[in-house]
């Protein structure tokens, strides 16, 4: 059995088609070339309309719920037991439903070529949910009376129990590369770090730094994984984790978050000044600026957007503790500054300067190349033929949906 549920070739071909269409819009390829490429790289996958995806998700959810209620009915109605009767029956029901959902999911992916179509998402999430309930029931049966998360957390044992949950989620991530499961795994990973640090006094003091370190490690891991040859398969998932890692790296060092969480942990009604406050001022100001600079320099849109969002949150943090201007004056001033700034930049960055531009991406005017000569050279090259496998008209479902999703 392959590790990956979806066909990697199909995903790659879809990417080739979209890239070719983009290059066609930029006039780097002729329209005939784009058509030939789309035929030569057929893909059974296509991107469905967002509305359709949502409707499919909801109806699949209904269908699976209705079907599993039949299973639960059968499990709970039959026979009678003792002791952990309820948990055991629940465990059995969830195990059955989860397995059925996974089998159905695999069948549908192979037969109907589903790829993030709403149906497979719903089936995957429900199956994962059932498996996690199975795990919970198992804990509850084996630990019987001492199953109390708060007590376990105090004794520093909770993270042991979270590890199998993370393992289950990671299996799902590796096989289905689902962004939502990726996000859940990342959050759980941070949860494990918190569960490790919280029980001891020293750990509580180091909590912000521990979380920042954990997020930084996750970010580095994402960058490492991005170099793998199968990056495309996991791209959306890795991007999601990247966003979360950047967000939590900032939030763990944000002055307001640290101060309020500190008050929460010590049971204070009013938050007080924290130790090492200047360090956290520095983080609050420095991290957004660093994100923005890095984003602009590396041409990384995720970094740039996270930088802008965190900058906004930093301003909010400042105004939360110090009231400098009345809100209406602050709003007016901020509006004027934003309008002036964007106006100046819109004018200044046209044409492109310092590798930045105010023109829309992939504007035909970008390509400073002598396109005509390239195209003419290409036309004279007689070898330009569509390879044989492209002529099969079986790939008729390919193509659509290029306009959605990207902007």
């Amino acid at each position: 059995m392959r590790t990956k549920a979806y066909s990697e070739e199909g995903i790659f071909n879809l990417e080739v088609q979209h890239t070719a269409q983009r290059w066609g819009k930029t006039k780097l390829l002729t329209a005939e070339q784009v058509a030939a490429i789309v035929q030569a790289f057929p893909s059974e996958f296509y991107r469905r309309h967002l509305f359709i995806k949502i409707a499919l998700f909801i109806f699949t959810w209904f269908a699976v719920s209705a079907a599993s209620s039949l299973v639960f009915l059968a499990v709970f109605e039959s026979g009678s037991g003792s002791g952990h009767d309820f948990e055991e029956r629940l465990l059995l029901g969830c195990l059955l439903c989860g397995t059925l959902a996974i089998v159905l999911l695999e069948q549908l992916i192979i037969k109907n070529h589903l790829y993030r179509s709403g149906v497979d998402n719903a089936l995957l999430y429900m199956a994962m949910g059932y498996f996690l309930v199975v795990l919970g029931c198992w804990y509850s049966i084996t630990l019987s009376d001492s199953f109390d998360p708060e007590m376990l957390l105090e004794r520093g044992l909770l993270w042991w129990m979270l590890l199998p949950v993370l393992a289950v989620l990671l299996v799902g991530v590796v096989r289905y590369a689902d962004p939502f499961l990726g996000a859940l795994s990342f959050l759980l990973y941070l949860g494990i770090v918190v569960a490790l640090l919280l029980p001891s006094g020293l750990g509580q003091a180091l909590l912000p730094f521990g979380l920042m370190l954990a997020s930084a490690l996750a970010y580095l891991l994402v960058r490492l994984l991005a170099r793998r040859p199968d990056y495309l398969y996991y791209r959306t998932c890795l991007r999601t984790v990247k966003v979360l890692a950047l967000a939590f790296f900032y939030l763990a060092g944000n002055y307001m978050v640290v101060r309020e969480v500190n008050a929460l942990l010590h049971g204070l009604n009013v938050s007080v000044q924290i130790s090492y406050a200047p360090l956290f001022y520095l983080f609050t100001v420095g991290i957004p600026l660093a994100y923005i600079t890095l984003g602009l320099r590396r041409h990384d849109r995720i970094l740039l957007h996270m930088g802008l969002l965190t900058l906004g949150f930093s301003i909010f943090t400042y105004r939360f503790y110090r009231s400098v201007l009345p809100p209406e004056v602050a709003l007016t001033l901020a509006g004027i500054i934003l309008i002036l700034l964007s106006g100046v930049l819109l004018r200044y960055l046209r044409p492109a300067k310092h590798g930045l531009t105010a023109e829309p991406a992939d504007n035909p005017e970008f390509s400073v190349l002598d396109l005509e000569s390239v195209v003419m050279a290409h036309v004279s090259e007689a070898g330009m033929k569509v390879p044989e496998r492209g002529f099969e008209f079986g790939g008729g479902t390919s193509g659509g949906g290029g306009a959605e999703g990207r902007y």
């Binding site: 990417e15 080739v16 890239t19 290059w23 780097l28 390829l29 030939a36 490429i37 030569a40 790289f41 469905r48 509305f51 359709i52 409707a55 499919l56 109806f59 699949t60 209904f62 269908a63 209705a66 039949l70 589903l114 149906v119 495309l232 802008l308 209406e328 602050a330 007016t332 001033l333 901020a334 509006g335 004027i336 934003l338 309008i339 700034l341 964007s342 930049l345 960055l349 492109a352 590798g355 930045l356 531009t357 105010a358 023109e359 991406a361 992939d362 970008f366 390509s367 190349l369 396109l371 390239v374 290409h378 330009m384 390879p387 008729g396 479902t397 193509g399 659509g400 306009a403 902007y407």
Partner: protein, 332 residues
């Protein structure tokens, strides 16, 4: 990723070596576009500034005076209408091929400020007295005229919303006297009739080729209005006795309307109408199913009906592309 794609294209001789090199250079050296970021900044700035100025004016209303504010709003509105008028295209029943974005936005701004102006005049000076209907009719008429003259779909939907509000406003006081039930069941009737009428206008404008592209807006708003009203009628009259139409009739009406939408979606290859038809139709059919089988065992029926019917809907939606006959990425 670019290198990998280029390599596989080269391997199949789909691009020439020069193109390969040119595209690689382009991808490496193309500038980083800040287009959307700067646009977002600009609109965020406008929003912040207008909110801030609005608050400032509100706080200093005593020293500024209402007359000045009314004048400013009126001037703003007039400027917007004036700009749209200077950039106008000759009137035609077809879609305007060279619409100017700035003129479109100016018209939208003019219409919104006009609405504010009318509201402000009524609130402060009681301009229309107690003829509240007029308060809505005047902007509605203006919006309809503007939508057709300047070929603007956004203003058209504002006009249609105004029309619905006018109907609601004029009907509500009447029903307060004629009916003991304060839930206004008469509004359902009016909404259904208005919705069907709007949908008919949409179909007619497509059929007679009079502003064909307005058909979508009419049909979307009209069918939604009628379907929502019929749904509320269906549920209301099944819980309270003072219903104006039997719930089964309402459900049947929904089924008919959904079938109409389905037919329209097939004809125009439209996702939105297919989805609307499927969702409302499913609801009504489910209702009818349980209504007609009220004496039997609901549990068993539910256990059979829900899995089967939802699977049916899922299969319908999965094959939507085949059903609609869409081959390329078109249609909304």
């Amino acid at each position: 990723m670019t290198d990998k794609i280029l390599a596989s294209l080269r391997a199949l001789h789909l691009i020439s070596a020069e193109q390969d090199a040119a595209i690689a250079t382009y991808e490496r050296e193309k500038p980083f576009s800040l287009y959307y970021e700067l646009r977002t900044f600009l609109s965020l700035g406008v929003t912040l500034l207008s909110t801030g100025l609005g608050l400032l004016i509100y706080q200093n209303i005593d020293s500024i005076g209402h007359g000045a504010i009314v004048t400013v709003i009126a001037l703003l509105s007039a400027a917007g209408f004036g700009y749209a008028y200077t950039r106008r295209q000759p009137f035609s029943w077809l879609e305007n091929p060279k619409a100017s974005t700035s003129a479109d936005y100016a018209l939208l701004l003019a219409c919104l400020t006009f609405l504010t102006l009318v509201g402000y005049l009524q609130y402060q000076y009681n301009f229309f007295g107690t003829r509240y209907g007029l308060l809505v009719v005047v902007p509605t008429v203006v919006f309809f005229l503007c939508a057709y003259r300047f070929d603007h779909r956004g203003v058209l939907s504002m006009a249609i919303t105004g029309l619905a509000a006018w109907v609601g406003v004029s009907i509500a006081p009447l029903s307060a006297f004629t009916s003991n039930d304060y839930a206004l069941p008469h509004l359902d009737w009016v909404a259904i009739v208005l919705g069907v009428a709007l949908a008919a206008v949409g179909l007619a404008s497509e059929y007679y080729d009079r502003k064909k592209h307005f058909g979508y807006t009419y049909l979307l708003l009209g069918s939604n209005l009628a379907l929502i009203a019929a749904t509320s009628a269906m549920f209301r009259s099944s819980y309270s006795e003072a219903g104006f139409m039997p719930p089964v009739l309402a459900a049947l009406l929904i089924v008919v309307l959904s079938a109409g939408l389905y037919w329209y979606a097939l004809r125009t290859h439209s996702y939105v109408f297919l989805l609307l038809g499927a969702l409302y139709g499913y609801m009504a059919v489910t209702y009818l199913f349980f209504q007609l089988s009220d004496d039997r065992d609901w549990d068993v029926l539910g256990f059979i009906y829900f899995p089967l019917s939802t699977v049916g809907v899922v299969i319908l939606l999965l094959n939507v592309k085949k059903i609609l006959g869409i081959h390329e990425n078109k249609g909304v």
